[in-house]
Symmetry: C3
Subunit: 170 residues, 3 copies
Amino acid sequence: MTSHRLLCLGGARSGKSRYAQQRAEVGEGAPVFIATAQPFDDEMHARIARHRADRDGRWHCIEAPLDLAPAIDALSGQGKIVLVDCLTLWLSNLLLAGKPFEAEATILTQAVARFDGTIILVANEVGWGIVPDNALARKFRDDAGRLNQHMASICDEVMLVVAGLPLRLK
Amino acid sequence: MTSHRLLCLGGARSGKSRYAQQRAEVGEGAPVFIATAQPFDDEMHARIARHRADRDGRWHCIEAPLDLAPAIDALSGQGKIVLVDCLTLWLSNLLLAGKPFEAEATILTQAVARFDGTIILVANEVGWGIVPDNALARKFRDDAGRLNQHMASICDEVMLVVAGLPLRLK
Amino acid sequence: MTSHRLLCLGGARSGKSRYAQQRAEVGEGAPVFIATAQPFDDEMHARIARHRADRDGRWHCIEAPLDLAPAIDALSGQGKIVLVDCLTLWLSNLLLAGKPFEAEATILTQAVARFDGTIILVANEVGWGIVPDNALARKFRDDAGRLNQHMASICDEVMLVVAGLPLRLK
């Protein structure tokens, strides 16, 4: 089986998750959904339920809010199609847990780079607004931008999704 | 007359309105401008006046801050070129008026889908920054993203305008 | 020597500065870096140092936080490759110094338009989030959008950089 790494970027409600799911569902192999979202509150509960309703019945779902690299490694070479949704929420969980960005980003990038099979990653573009007032938000958007650059550099295919429409970047 | 539906997306001051106007002005048929802006304050007055100064003398202007679907229906089959600027302000008016998003978005999407003639829609991309602090802003950007997806799915042509330059998405 | 004007647009941490530097480093002629950043605080110091570490040893560096047009004029016709990083920080310095946008933007645009040689400009896209609460931020993003449109109209080549990947706009 040839490995394929696809990164789906986009703003909030750009249709990037749906596009990524469609790409996974037309592939060969059982689709596995790795969710990074944590249902802290009602709003997040509703968001997760909405995403779940979009997926067909074949999906197996795994939760990995923080330990994403081991979850990816465990699925390597299994003939599955792995969808990670999304890297930006994982980054947010990382910062909340006080874990260092550079070290964790390196570990995750390596896990994606060595993955044997098809892996599809979803991530948010968050740096296209005005500079945020507070330092934490600035660090978050800087880290998110760096993470997207790291992932784009090792992926075979990168799509920017705007209003549900994919635009090829790589 | 063949119908054509064009959606022009872009950030603030991306040149999307000017691009949309130029597309309307080279078309066959008298151009009609449907404005969704409401001149609440001096800033908005100035913004509306600036947009008006960009348009040539042939334009007929209609204001439809809320009842956009009936305004579009009334112009269907008249041989006009209709420009709606913009959907995102209409959405903002909708939320301020306490109207439900899903029902209104469906009505509007249907009006655009059945329009007989050339219709050009302008909308803002608002979901590319960090997650807003307050729930209302989050709902607004989610709704705006969904509305853009709905419109993109029924339009024949979708352009993303960046720094005045159009990039074809569909 | 044929003149070439390249504008590199992108969000925060999109890789636009690195892309611009790589383009400068493969060109013929000694590269000159015109920095508009002012090291007000530790965060900005670190940001400037990080950008400097990305550049190879051949670079000559000039600081022009406000008087950007004269700095560009002085390098015209010298066979250098000039990189200005970035226009959006220059705009920010302009507003802080209380200088009028339209007049200064016109002067800068003219200096770029008459530049004899290769000039590469970096600028931020800042208008893709929700409307900012405060009027100053709204003016800043409007001015930034207008400046990017002015520059794009006179440049020979415009690239949008997303996750380190360039997308041609012109």
